[in-house]
Structures are given as structure tokens and as C-alpha cells.
């Protein structure tokens, strides 16, 4: 076997071996120490109607898995857009102004690690409704990587580029759009990617707590209905979607790594 074929085989086979090992461990667990854990076989049987007809709508709480996923994605998209809309300018101001940075950096460091489970009740208090509360929670949890990466990116702009702006006497607006934003773009996209990961992480918790239809809401509802197979289905779907989102953002990020 040539080394090239060998490396291709390894690239295709090794991940499969990894998946097989986890499924085996799951199967063994379900047959030995955790009788309540559905086996891989039973999970597939019970999930089949949701996977085979992914967009079916049989009732408010009984829909195809991709339809639920779509609801979650729409919700994430709204909260995430809000996070970027607030986070990017905030990051720019933090990066540009030492004064602002000194004033607000400590409070940001304190707010940043707060769990979505803690923000949601506050959102409900503020907005009295679960929809805006959900968006608020996604936005406030997901915006920090965008804020901090943008700020770091602005601070890391080489003096050379700023000198070009000074020699050319660019106006503040031109300086922002011709120098500052393009120079910060790679950092911003790293922030955007991390923020999207968090937004997707938060959605499950938010849907669980508010009971809204979506992949996270479905998970919690099926736990209460004692249909544990669907919990596993949801976990797999959440993981896969999260993975796909991350890959898409990485590709966008690579495109801006020109420097």
C-alpha cells in the first residue's frame, strides 16, 4: 500500500473507529449498569419517525427533528445578530479608548462568566415575555467573545497602518472603514465564531426553561414524558448542528486571514 492510500484510509477509518467505540460503550452501559439508558438500537427505532420525516408537523409538540432544529436556528439567528450588533461596536470602543476600557473592563470580566440559566430569569423580569427574554439571554451570553476579540484586534493594529492613516490625513470615518475595520476583521471573525458556538449552547437551556418549541424544548418535553430515546436524538442533532455551524464560521474566518 502506498503511503498516500494509507493516509487516506487512516483519515476515513480512524474517525469511524472513534464513533464505533463510543457507540459500543453506550450499548454496553445500557445493557449493564444503566437500565434506563436506551440502547442504540432502541434509540434508532424510537427516533425513526422524527428522522425519516424531518419536517413533519403532527402537532405542536410532535414535529420532525429538523423542523424543531429550524425553530431553534431562527431563534439563535435573532439573538446572535443582536449580540453582534451590540458586541462589535462595544469591542471597537473598548479597543480604541483606554479610558472606556479601564472603566468597563472589570464589569465585563464579572458579567462574562455568568450562566445563561442566571440571565434568563432576569430577562423574564425585564421583558415579561419569554420571547424577548430568550433573545436577551442569547445576546448577552454570546456577545462577550465578539466584544473581547474585537477589542484585542483593534489594540493589535500595527502602528504602520495607523501611520499610513496619519500621513494621508484620513478622516475619522475613512480611518474606521479603510484601516481599522479591515485590520481588525480576522480578530472579529474569531469572535463571531466563538459567539455563535455560545449562542447555540445557550439555546438549549433557554428553550428548556421557557418551554418553547425547538430542539432544546423538545428534549426537555421528552424527558418529562419519559421518552429517553428522544433525549439522545436531540443531543446528537444539537452536536451535529453545532459542529456544522462552527465549520461554516471557520471557513468564513479563513477567507479573512489575508494578513
Amino acid at each position: 500500500m502506498s503511503p498516500k492510500v494509507k493516509s487516506y484510509l487512516a483519515a476515513a477509518l480512524l474517525p469511524l473507529i472513534g464513533v464505533a467505540a463510543v457507540v459500543a460503550a453506550w450499548s454496553i452501559s445500557s445493557h449493564t449498569w444503566s437500565k434506563d439508558l436506551p440502547s442504540p438500537n432502541k434509540t434508532w427505532e424510537a427516533s425513526k419517525p422524527y428522522v425519516v420525516e424531518p419536517f413533519a408537523k403532527r402537532g405542536e409538540l410532535d414535529q420532525g427533528i429538523l423542523r424543531f432544529t429550524w425553530y431553534s436556528l431562527v431563534r439563535v439567528a435573532k439573538g446572535y445578530s443582536l449580540a453582534l450588533l451590540i458586541g462589535t461596536p462595544l469591542g471597537f470602543i473598548l479597543g480604541l479608548s483606554k479610558l472606556f476600557s479601564r472603566a468597563f473592563d472589570p464589569i465585563i470580566q464579572i458579567l462574562r462568566p455568568v450562566s445563561p440559566l442566571a440571565w434568563l430569569p432576569l430577562g423574564l423580569v425585564l421583558f415579561a415575555q419569554s420571547k424577548p427574554a430568550a433573545l436577551f439571554t442569547i445576546a448577552i451570553c454570546a456577545m462577550w467573545p465578539t466584544v473581547l476579540n474585537t477589542a484585542v484586534g483593534v489594540r493589535a493594529i500595527p502602528q504602520d497602518y495607523l501611520n499610513v492613516a496619519r500621513v494621508l490625513k484620513l478622516s475619522p470615518t475613512k480611518r474606521l472603514f479603510k484601516i481599522l475595520i479591515p485590520a481588525t476583521l480576522p480578530y472579529m471573525f474569531t469572535g463571531f465564531r466563538l459567539s455563535l458556538g455560545i449562542a447555540w449552547l445557550v439555546i438549549v437551556a433557554v428553550e428548556m426553561l421557557t418551554g418553547t418549541p425547538g430542539v432544546g424544548g423538545f428534549l426537555w418535553q421528552e424527558y418529562n414524558a419519559l421518552i429517553y430515546e428522544h433525549i439522545i436524538l436531540c443531543i446528537i442533532v444539537i452536536g451535529l448542528v453545532g459542529f456544522i455551524l462552527d465549520r461554516m464560521m471557520s471557513m468564513a474566518e479563513m477567507r479573512f486571514r489575508t494578513a
Partner: protein
């Protein structure tokens, strides 16, 4: 009054206790259309000097005037070519130059500006690479873009900060010839900083040594009265070339060096990073 005039210019970095004087009592008069080379040790404050003329940093003492006006801030009337090119990596060759041209000549029509950009790209022989980004170009090509950008602004004076020192010897020679032929064409006022005495003699009308720092100052100017265009091969055997070279080098190794040996103040590391970034 001369076109560019430095009088009693000094600059130091650091505060009180750890303060180091980099440049002290610089006096210099440059006439319009003159090409002046300032030659000195690395770390003597050459970049600091050019940054002050560019207006990017302010002198602590003394004044710098260009065409009778005191320099207080940077501006497009002084085209700077930085040692590290300072091109914007997200813009193509054309766009880098167009950014400067659009800024300096906002009243021109779009076509006129585009033709202007194309003219200067052609002047530095980069027309085939005009749509490339800086990271796709060699060091020599990047420096050509930087030269084209500075010239396209049609500045009153061109400031070259060790423009060729990051290049290999052959590219360096080619670019020296290009700079010479461009200068023959427009006779701009040029101040070039270099650490290469031969380069200074090849290009300049006047060559001025900068003594070693800290507290570096300008030594006696040496007029380069060699006919143009100068041929680098012939120069090696030219008696006047050897005399000029001897004068500059003997100052740099003699009087200019004494300053360094007498003052044994340690050079703070911050200066290196400042110069690297400036």
C-alpha cells in the same frame, strides 16, 4: 531660508531617571530639488529623525520647517517610504496606491485618478502585478509599491527611511538604479536614511553622517560632486568616489564613534521596540 530646515532639533525617550537622549542639536538645511542621504549606525536614531520630519513624532527641542512652515503633524506633502513598506495587506497594489491618490486629489475625476495610479505603477514596473496583494509580492516588489504610493501623492519632499535595507544585494542594486532614474525624471527633494555609505554616494547630492548614539548628532556634510547618471561599476575606480567614501567613513569610525565609547549609558530595550515599530 532653505526648503527643509532643522534647527537645534533634539529628541529623547523615557522619563527623568531612565531618560536617554537619542538625537541632540541637529541642524540641517536642504534646498529644493536636492537629494540628501543621511548615513549612520543602526540604532543611532535615524528612524526617529525621519519620523520627526514626517511629523509622526514631535521633537523635544528645536524646530523643523518645510517651505517656511513649522511641521506639527503628518501630511501628504511629505511622502514617506518606510523600511517595512507599510502596505495595507487587504488591499491590492492598485488599491494601496489609489487610497493615497483618492485622498490627496479628491477633486480629480475618477478616470484621471485611475490613470494617475496606473502611471506610477508603470513607473516602478509593477503593471503585471497591479491586482496582487502585498503578501503575494517579494520584498523588492513591495518596496516598489511603497515608493510608487509616496510618489503618486506628488509630495513636496520624499522621505526614504532605509528603504532598501531589508532587501538582498541584487534587488537592492536594481532598486537603487530605479530610484536614481525616477529622481532624474522629477528632481524631487529627497531625504534618504541609509546605513550603506556607497548607496548614499550613488544616489545623493550631499551625504551627511550621523554619529553613534545616544545623543547622536549630524557630522560634516560631504558634497557628492560626481556626474549623473552614475555608473556603479565605474564608481569603484573613481578617485573622487574614494575620497568621499573615505571622508564619510573616517568620520563615522572616528569622531562619530567617539560619542558612543565615551557615553556608556545602556541603551534601553524600549528604544529597539520603538524603532522597530516606527
Amino acid at each position: 531660508m532653505a526648503f527643509l530646515e532643522l534647527s537645534g532639533v533634539g529628541k529623547g525617550y523615557g522619563s527623568n531617571g531612565s531618560r536617554t537622549e537619542v538625537l541632540r542639536d541637529l541642524n540641517l538645511s536642504i534646498e529644493k530639488g536636492e537629494f540628501v542621504a543621511i548615513v549612520g549606525y543602526s540604532g543611532a536614531g535615524k528612524t526617529t529623525l525621519i519620523s520627526m520630519i514626517a511629523g509622526l513624532i514631535k521633537p523635544d527641542t528645536g524646530t523643523i520647517t518645510l517651505d517656511g512652515k513649522t511641521i506639527t503633524e503628518p501630511g501628504p506633502d511629505r511622502g514617506v517610504v518606510f523600511q517595512n513598506y507599510s502596505l495595507l495587506p487587504w488591499l491590492s497594489v492598485e488599491e494601496n496606491i489609489a487610497l493615497a491618490v483618492d485622498q490627496v486629489f479628491p477633486d480629480w475625476s475618477k478616470d484621471k485618478r485611475r490613470d494617475h495610479v496606473a502611471k506610477y505603477i508603470a513607473m516602478v514596473n509593477l503593471t503585471p502585478a497591479r491586482r496582487k496583494r502585498p503578501h503575494e509580492l517579494s520584498g523588492g516588489m513591495r518596496q516598489r509599491v511603497s515608493v510608487a504610493r509616496a510618489l503618486a501623492m506628488d509630495p513636496a519632499i520624499l522621505l526614504l527611511d532605509e528603504p532598501l535595507s531589508a532587501l538582498d544585494a541584487l534587488t537592492r542594486a536594481t532598486l537603487q538604479d530605479e530610484i536614481e532614474s525616477i529622481w532624474e525624471g522629477n528632481h524631487k527633494t529627497v531625504v534618504m536614511i541609509t546605513n550603506d555609505v556607497d548607496e548614499g554616494i550613488l544616489l545623493a547630492d550631499r551625504i551627511i553622517p550621523l554619529s553613534a548614539g545616544p545623543g547622536a548628532t549630524l557630522g560634516p556634510a560631504v558634497r557628492v560632486d560626481l556626474d549623473r547618471p552614475r555608473d556603479r561599476k565605474a564608481l569603484n575606480h573613481d578617485a573622487r568616489f574614494k575620497t568621499i567614501r573615505g571622508k564619510v567613513i573616517s568620520y563615522l569610525l572616528g569622531a562619530g564613534k567617539k560619542a558612543r565609547t565615551q557615553l556608556t549609558v545602556a541603551r534601553p530595550a524600549v528604544l529597539d521596540s520603538l524603532e522597530a515599530s516606527a
